[in-house]
């Protein structure tokens, strides 16, 4: 058990390093001189550019620059935003709370809706309930999240006035964005839950459970759902990635001050230190979430524990 978790954690180190290389290279891959990119719309005299090059270390070899970057990274120094001149780490941490709140709330909605729709349609296979649930799921898969978000704002905040359309703070500002994000993610989940429940439903051990006289509810709960959830957890982990990237869009539509909106704004402002910081932050969260998903298998599936 412990060696497995340790091994899984160890494997993330090279991945995180690779991500840091890519993020580091972003500034250098932008066509043109990084110093000019850095100075943005401000006046660029040759002296000023030379000074920036020196201060940023751009006049040194790329490898040295990367090692330097990594050294600063290990101390939590992600550079300063060009736009606000505040430390990138500070900008990220002040917004992480809002994003975490949105991610958690929409994840709960996605799981509740996805499991509900998926299990019901599998148990009522080939009835109108199944068809209706899968139609809802297909609609969710096909719906652009920014459109659903805009429609929710139109109906529930502009017409009915039930919830505020924008901002952060309080549950009533969370309902609409969390639902928009959660619903779109639940659709994929519902389709997967349905097919994995259907797969387990015809396994011999389910027949055995029934033939020994177990109540149907117990058969479903103990034998069907528990086994079906192993594959569902994988996708839930992957869905978390969809959720993270969906949050980028959702936060922009609802003008929520989160990491996603920060990323989009920084791309539009050409604020590259902030772009690098936000990308690194989101990728790291995603990698950590995937490790947690892998570790959770060990609890869900005893077969892995004994391997």
């Amino acid at each position: 058990m412990l060696p497995y978790v340790a091994k899984r954690l160890l494997l993330t180190v090279p991945l995180l390093l690779a991500v840091s290389v890519l993020v580091f290279l972003v500034l250098h891959l932008v066509p043109g001189d990084p110093a000019i990119v850095f100075i943005g719309d401000r006046e660029a005299t040759p002296e000023r550019l030379a000074q920036i090059r020196h201060v940023m270390g751009l006049d040194r070899p790329l490898v040295v620059q990367y090692v330097d970057y990594l050294g600063k990274l290990s101390q939590g120094n992600l550079g300063r935003s060009i736009h606000s001149d505040r430390p990138v780490l500070g900008e990220l941490t002040t917004r992480a709370g809002s994003s975490a709140e949105l991610a958690l709330a929409s994840f709960l909605i996605a799981v509740a809706l996805g499991l509900g729709l998926g299990v019901i349609s599998a148990l009522r296979r080939s009835t109108w309930i199944d068809a209706a649930a899968m139609l809802v799921a297909l609609g969710g898969v096909s719906m652009p999240i920014f459109w659903l978000a805009a429609m929710l704002i139109f109906v529930f905040s502009l017409k009915l006035g039930w919830f505020p359309a924008t901002g952060f703070g309080g549950w009533n500002r969370l309902v609409l964005p969390a639902f928009a994000l959660g619903f779109v993610s639940s659709a994929t989940l519902a389709r997967l839950v349905r097919s994995s429940v259907l797969e387990v439903l015809w396994q011999p051990f389910v027949t055995t459970a029934r033939s020994k006289g177990l109540r149907e509810a117990l058969v479903i709960r103990r034998h069907v759902l528990k086994n079906a959830f192993i594959s569902v957890v994988t996708v839930m982990g992957l869905q978390f990635g969809t959720l993270l990237s969906g949050a980028v869009i959702t936060e922009t539509v609802f003008a929520r001050p989160g990491v996603g909106k920060l990323l989009v704004d920084s791309i539009l402002n050409k604020d590259f230190p902030l772009v690098q910081g936000a990308v690194l932050f989101i990728a790291t969260v995603y990698i950590v979430m995937n490790v947690l998903v892998d570790v959770s298998y060990v609890y869900l599936d005893p077969r892995i524990r004994f391997e």
């Binding site: 991945l15 690779a18 991500v19 890519l22 972003v26 891959l29 932008v30 066509p31 297909l138 609609g139 898969v141 096909s142 719906m143 652009p144 999240i145 920014f146 459109w147 805009a150 429609m151 704002i153 139109f154 502009l158 389709r191 997967l192 097919s195 994995s196 594959s231 996708v235 978390f240 990635g241 969809t242 993270l244 990237s245 969906g246 980028v248 869009i249 922009t252 539509v253 990323l263 989009v264 791309i267 539009l268 590259f272 772009v275 990308v279 989101i282 990728a283 995603y286 990698i287």
Partner: protein
Amino acid sequence: MSRTSTWIPASGSSEVTAERARRRLLWFDVLVRLRRSRGPAVGGMMLTVLALAAIAAPLLTPYDPLAMHPADRLRPPGLHHPFGTDVFGRDLFTRVLYGSRISLQTGLVSVVIAVAVGVPIGLTSGYYGGVADRLLMRLVDLMLTFPGILLALVIVAILGPNLLNAMLAVGISASPTYARVVRASVLTVRELAYVEAAQALGCRNTRIIVHHILPNTVAPVIVLGTLGLAGAIITAAALSYLGLGAQPPTPEWGALLSEGRNYLRVAWWMTTFPGLAIMAAVLAINLLGDGLRDALDPRLRY
């Protein structure tokens, strides 16, 4: 493969004709399976209508998608303007119609880029194995570390926001999935007797890859490409919506939604109709893709 291992396909022999007939039968089988289920038929029909509308756009509307008519600004949907007009008095139906040209094309080009990048990586990785395989797969793993739209955002951040870069970004960020799937099918095909036979005959590796291995990866790539088209349209629209793809006044669907954003209170139609257009296209493609997947390669299900 119940034949003896020394069997070598001789061109022009009856075995090749039999193989061709078998293949034709396979595709016929796929068509029959597709026709049997309702979903793909509905999806295919919707998609055909959309494509025809995109092609025949100038015949279907008397308006110009870009010409402004300030006198007609923000008209609600009515007889003359079925989808209403936007803030510059442009007919929204016309803009959505012309937008279908741009959005469908953007999706197609993105998928072509994804295939052009992903398939060669998968073929090389799967066929040669060894160091090349390990290196390429690490690269693919790295790209998959960036969830969903994030990699596309990074690429747009590097290249700058416009429609062409958005297509590149969407295509490149989708390519790892193609590489993975192609590699998996190459790994199974590589071990088959006819590949060994071709190698024994002294065929060059590129010839073996192109003539013997590539055709076997076509089915999963078609399925992925179809479902990927839906994803590409949504992602490209999302980029445009965020201001990182098509720029105004281009009537791309995502850009249209973005234009409607500030007028939601006074002009709901500016947001509703472009969104419905995206949904219709994506739904049609998903229906077709799901059907294709079931008919071509049931293993790809989830």
